[in-house]
Symmetry: C2
Subunit: 313 residues, 2 copies
């Protein structure tokens, strides 16, 4: 029997786990809650216990696994050291070494969750076939992950791929969570798409189906734009203009084969990516062959796929 491997995606609410064949087949997947109390001290123990239990139920020994990969929401140094992981309560430590110890010395590798998800999408998702890509996750914020030559690029201090904090808007008064003003996240995340529409509605009296809604969400804006609401479309175009611009800049710097668009907002499908592509292409005139702009495919499973891929290499 060939070796299997484990993919672990630690989120603020739950930990997703998967057992994979080395060819990328997902054999089994399950979830456990993330116990964040006492600075997250139970999280790794819970994961190790759950892996032991699930392996046993599946008739597997720990020695049947080539290793376990792990993604978590924080900056990770190449040796696995994590200075701080706010969302899990972790202080400085080496969760990868710790988990390895708890699994009798099993090989454990780790990475930032957004980067790991990008790797998963490259391996078995919307990025299959590409070696150089940039994943953009449009959710509450705008996340990013950069894959160069099939490997995660983290940069010098793990800031690489922080696409949401590319400065795009001059003169923005409101502050971003990062302390900056005019970050991409402020206009192109789900929150940003809704905010942009609300501002546009407040700025004039044009009719719009959005005016009848109490709380406008990004989905409302996207649905209204799809249905032909002129103001919603104009607002969405504005959000996509800034996103397309940021991606065009990345094309001039990195020249990737493709951008993968994921996250909740990406459920709008090619209606969304077509608009982003229009602005990207317009603002990257030097590129004779424009980068593809495609949809991510693995959804919430991207993290466990990418984590497994850390082991398979």
């Amino acid at each position: 029997m060939s070796l299997k491997c484990i993919g672990i995606d630690i989120g603020g609410t739950s930990v997703k786990l998967g057992i994979f064949e080395e060819d990328g087949t997902l054999v089994k997947k399950w979830e456990i809650p993330t116990r964040k109390e006492e600075n997250g001290k139970y999280i790794l123990g819970d994961i190790a216990a759950s892996i032991r239990r699930t392996a046993k139920e599946s008739g597997l020994e720990l020695s049947d696994f080539s290793g376990a990969g792990m993604g978590f929401p924080g900056p990770v140094l190449p040796d696995g050291h994590c200075e701080v992981c706010v969302n899990l309560g972790w202080k400085a430590g080496n969760p990868q070494q710790e988990l390895s110890r708890l699994l009798d010395g099993m090989t454990v590798k780790s990475g930032n969750d957004a980067n790991v998800a990008a790797l998963g999408e490259m391996w078995q998702g919307g990025g299959k076939g590409y070696k150089n890509l940039v994943m953009v996750t449009l959710g509450t914020g705008v996340g990013g992950g950069i894959i160069l030559n099939e490997k995660i690029w983290t940069g010098e201090q793990g800031v690489g791929g922080e696409i949401g904090h590319i400065h795009v808007m001059e003169g923005e008064k409101e502050a971003c969570n990062c302390g900056g003003h005019g970050c991409l996240e402020q206009v192109a995340s789900a929150t940003g798409i809704a905010r942009t529409a609300r501002r546009m509605l407040a700025a004039d009296n044009r009719p719009s189906t959005l005016r009848s809604l109490k709380n406008i969400s990004a989905k409302n804006v996207l649905d209204a734009a799809k249905a032909g609401d002129a103001l919603a479309l104009e607002s969405l175009n504005k959000s996509c203009y800034y996103l397309g611009w940021a991606l065009a800049t990345i094309s001039m710097v990195l020249d990737p084969q493709a951008f993968l668009i994921g996250g909740g907002v990406s459920k709008a499908g090619t209606f969304l990516t077509d608009i982003i592509k229009r602005y990207h292409d317009e603002l990257s005139p030097m590129a004779t062959k424009k980068a593809d702009i495609v949809l991510a495919k693995l959804g919430n499973d991207a993290g466990i796929y990418g984590a497994a891929k850390l082991i398979i290499g």
Copy 2:
């Protein structure tokens, strides 16, 4: 005797050549004219003949060299293929294979000149000690070269590092050479710095020492700004704001250790880099440790150093 290697930098006017020790010592350097007639068909032959002649004069055989590296002003694929090199008149071909043939099968490697110069600066210039850096050349245009893990990053189609064509200005009416509108090159190259100042002078009647000059150059703007001319400083700040912004974006994407500023404009020294750094730092709030912004050191020799480094690896 340990092997030596050759660095070749082919420009539109002259070809620079150097013989290096593998430790980076430049043993000998010389230049020959670039004969561009008949689609540049004599260039590689001239180079080979000059290398043979100079080697002989120095008491060396071709077998005393581990190889020759070459930079030229065009896009180069990993196998050395060049689809077109406008400045030299070259049509599709493989100059690296051709030069190797002319030098009895000597190992020849090649790269785009801006990228090769960046590699040279990393090896023996202002970037010594850094492994991940982005070089920005402020000359007639704005060139760029990206070094990741001590290697040139060219991207999928060789567009990687085309920093001059990052879109930075909204609403710019004038077209850039690339066909775009509002490229960094239009405001931060030598030409761009002079143009920005001319526009600012035309826009109002404020006094400025620049008003007495017939043709305003970037050097005039930098000198006047250094001397305290308020309008010149305001104009230079504008150019540096857009440059700092583009570099801040690169910091969010690649998170390099340093940016190297080279080219004629960089003769203004730390007066210039201090202004660029101020905007870069302001617009990259996510980076707790800001990238260094330092001056390139090798000037016109960067190309031969980098070309030699292609061979040394």
